[in-house]
C-alpha cells in the first residue's frame, strides 16, 4: 500500500480527532465560568458540586447504573442458557434461530425506538422502568450471545467427560469445570452489555418518562435547553465510568476482543 507522509498525517489526525471532543468536554467541566467554554479559564469544581447537590441528576445516575447492571445480568443469563442448548443440541432451523437472536442489530435505532415504545405500551410500561429494562435486554442480547457462543464452541467437551468418568456429578462438573472455562466469554458479555446499556440513548429516548430518566437522556434534554457547564461535569462522570469498564475489560480479556467481536458483528 502506498505509504506516504500524507497517509501518516491523515492517520495521526484521525487518532487525534477521535478522542478530541471527549477531552474537550472533560477539560471544560472544570471551568469556574457560568457558561461552557474552552479553554476553561480559571479552574473550579463548582459544577461537580452542583451535580452532587441535584437530586434529579443523581437519580438519573442511579437509574442508569441499575438499568445497565440489570440489563447486563439478564441478557447474559438469557443468552447463556439459550447458547448452552444451541451449541449442544442439533435442531432444525438452528441457523434461522441465530439470525433471529441477532435480528435487533439490523434495525436503525430510530425505528427500534418506535418498536420498543409499542412493546412497552402493550404492558402499560410506557415511560416506566420495566419498559426500559425489557428494551435494553433485547438490544444487548446479541452482544452477549456472540462471546458466549464462541467460548462455548471453543470448550472441549472431553474435559467434562473426563471429570464425569472420574466420578464427578453433573452439577459439580458444571460448577467446577464448565463455568470456569467459560468465564472469559461470560465476563466479556457482562461488561460489554453493561457499557452498551449504560451509554444507550437513542432507543431510551422513546422509553423514558417523567419519573424515570437515564443519565444520557437527561444530558440530551439539557443540552437542548441550556448551556450550563454542569452538563460537562456530568458527561465527565459518564466518561469516567465508561473508561473504568473498558480498563476492566482490557485487564481481564484484552482489547483485541473488540476487533474480534467486530468481525463477527455481521448483521444477518
Amino acid at each position: 500500500m502506498p505509504w506516504t507522509a500524507a497517509g501518516r498525517t491523515l492517520v495521526a489526525a484521525v487518532l487525534l480527532f477521535l478522542p478530541a471532543p471527549i477531552v474537550i468536554v472533560v477539560m471544560s467541566s472544570f471551568t469556574a465560568r457560568g457558561y461552557i467554554s474552552f479553554p476553561p479559564g480559571e479552574l473550579s469544581l463548582r459544577w461537580y458540586a452542583e451535580f452532587l447537590a441535584s437530586p434529579d441528576w443523581l437519580m438519573s445516575l442511579v437509574v442508569s447504573l441499575v438499568l445497565a447492571a440489570l440489563a447486563a445480568a439478564f441478557s447474559t443469563l438469557i443468552a447463556f442458557l439459550g447458547a448452552l442448548v444451541f451449541t449442544r443440541k442439533r435442531f432444525p432451523g438452528a441457523a434461522g434461530f441465530e439470525t433471529l437472536v441477532l435480528l435487533p442489530l439490523i434495525f436503525p435505532h430510530a425505528a427500534l425506538g418506535v418498536v420498543m415504545l409499542g412493546m412497552a405500551g402493550m404492558f402499560g410500561w410506557t415511560g416506566r422502568f420495566p419498559g426500559l429494562l425489557l428494551a435494553h435486554v433485547i438490544m444487548t442480547v446479541p452482544y452477549a450471545w456472540r462471546p458466549i457462543v464462541s467460548s462455548l464452541r471453543k470448550l472441549d467437551l472431553s474435559t467434562e467427560e473426563a471429570a464425569m468418568s472420574l466420578g464427578a456429578r453433573p452439577l459439580y462438573v458444571f460448577r467446577r469445570v464448565t463455568l470456569p472455562l467459560l468465564r472469559p466469554g461470560l465476563v466479556t458479555a457482562l461488561l460489554f452489555t453493561f457499557i452498551i446499556s449504560f451509554d444507550e440513548v437513542t432507543v431510551s429516548l422513546f422509553l423514558v418518562g417523567p419519573d424515570v430518566t437515564t443519565l444520557p437522556v437527561r444530558i440530551f434534554a439539557h443540552i437542548q435547553d441550556s448551556g450550563s457547564p454542569v452538563i460537562a461535569a456530568i458527561s465527565t462522570v459518564l466518561v469516567a465510568l465508561t473508561v473504568l469498564v473498558v480498563l476492566l475489560l482490557d485487564r481481564l480479556i484484552g482489547l483485541e476482543l473488540f476487533v474480534e467481536s467486530e468481525q463477527r458483528r455481521r448483521p444477518a
Binding site: 474552552f38 433471529l100 434495525f107 425505528a111 473488540f258
Partner: protein
C-alpha cells in the same frame, strides 16, 4: 454434559424475549397499514410520499448516511492499516479508537457543540488567526451533522477493516513486492481485494447506524435540517402521532435494509471466493 428433554426449557427465556420482539415488530408494521375502519390501507404511506417536506427528509437521510459512510471509509481504511502494521504494542492505538467509540453518543456530540458552535473553539481559533471575520456556520446544517456522525460511527469502520487486516500475513505484501509489483499495484491487486469483507461489513454497519441516528442530527443539525430519525422523534413527542411515526419507522427500516441486505449477500460471496482461492 448430556442434556435431557428438559434442556429445552433453558431456551425458554431467550425464545420468549425474541418472540416479544417479533410480536412488537408485527404490531408496528400493522399499525402503519391501519386505516380508519381497521381495514389495511396504504393511506399512511401515500400521505408520507405526498408531502414534499417528508420526501426531502428521506432524501437527506440517504444522502447524509451515504456521505458519512464514504468519509468513514476514506479515513478509517488508512487508520486500520496503520494500526495493523504498527510495529510494537498496539494497545495504545486501540485505546484511542475503542474508548471514544464506547463513550456515549450524547457526550461526544456535546463535545462537537463546544468545538463547532458559533462561539466555539474552532471559530474562536480561526478568528484569533484572523482567517475569518464572521464565524463560519459549522453547526445547525448538514456539515455539522456529517462531522458528528463520522466521529460517532467511523470506529465501527476502523474495527471492521482492522479485523480483516489482523489476519493478513505481512508476507503477502512482501511476496507481491518481490514478484515485481509496485506498492500501488500490490494495494490494488492484493490488499484491497482481501480487505473487501471488512470494508463491506464496515459499510453496512456505518450506513445502518447513520440512517437511524437521532441525537447527533438533532443536536448538530437543529430543527431545520431534519433526518428521518429526528422526524420520527418529533412526530412521536411533539405531534403524538404514533401511526405516522410507525409508518416512518417502516420506511426507515426498508430504506436501510435495501442497502444492507444486498451488501450482506455480497460480503458472503466475497468471503466465500476468498476462502475458495486460498
Amino acid at each position: 454434559m448430556r442434556f435431557g428433554r428438559l434442556a429445552w426449557l433453558l431456551m425458554l427465556p431467550l425464545a420468549a424475549v425474541l418472540g416479544l420482539f417479533l410480536v412488537s415488530l408485527g404490531a408496528l408494521v400493522w399499525s402503519s397499514f391501519a386505516g380508519a375502519d381497521g381495514v389495511p390501507k396504504l393511506d399512511l404511506y401515500a400521505r408520507f410520499f405526498a408531502r414534499r417536506d417528508y420526501v426531502d427528509v428521506l432524501v437527506r437521510t440517504l444522502w447524509v448516511a451515504g456521505l458519512t459512510t464514504l468519509v468513514s471509509l476514506a479515513i478509517g481504511y488508512p487508520v486500520a492499516w496503520a494500526v495493523a502494521r504498527h510495529k510494537g504494542r498496539r494497545d495504545w492505538l486501540l485505546v484511542l479508537i475503542i474508548l471514544p467509540w464506547l463513550v456515549s453518543v450524547v457526550v461526544r456530540t456535546y463535545g462537537w457543540i463546544v468545538i463547532l458552535g458559533n462561539r466555539g473553539l474552532l471559530n474562536a481559533f480561526l478568528g484569533w488567526l484572523g482567517v475569518v471575520d464572521t464565524p463560519l456556520k459549522l453547526m445547525f446544517n448538514t456539515t455539522g451533522i456529517v462531522i458528528g456522525l463520522v466521529h460517532v460511527f467511523c470506529p465501527f469502520m476502523i474495527l471492521a477493516i482492522l479485523a480483516v487486516f489482523l489476519h493478513l500475513e505481512r508476507s503477502l505484501e512482501e511476496a507481491s513486492m518481490s514478484l515485481g509489483a509496485g506498492p500501488w499495484q500490490t494495494f490494488r491487486k492484493v490488499i484491497w481485494p482481501l480487505s473487501l469483507p471488512g470494508v463491506i461489513s464496515g459499510t453496512m454497519i456505518v450506513y445502518l447506524m447513520a440512517t437511524g441516528a437521532i441525537v447527533t442530527p438533532l443536536l448538530l443539525g437543529g430543527l431545520r435540517d431534519r433526518m428521518l430519525g429526528t422526524q420520527i422523534y418529533q412526530e412521536m413527542f411533539q405531534v403524538f402521532d404514533f401511526p405516522r411515526a410507525a409508518t416512518m419507522a417502516v420506511i426507515l427500516t426498508a430504506t436501510a435494509l435495501a442497502v444492507v441486505l444486498p451488501l450482506g449477500m455480497l460480503e458472503r460471496r466475497v468471503s466465500r471466493n476468498l476462502k475458495g482461492a486460498s
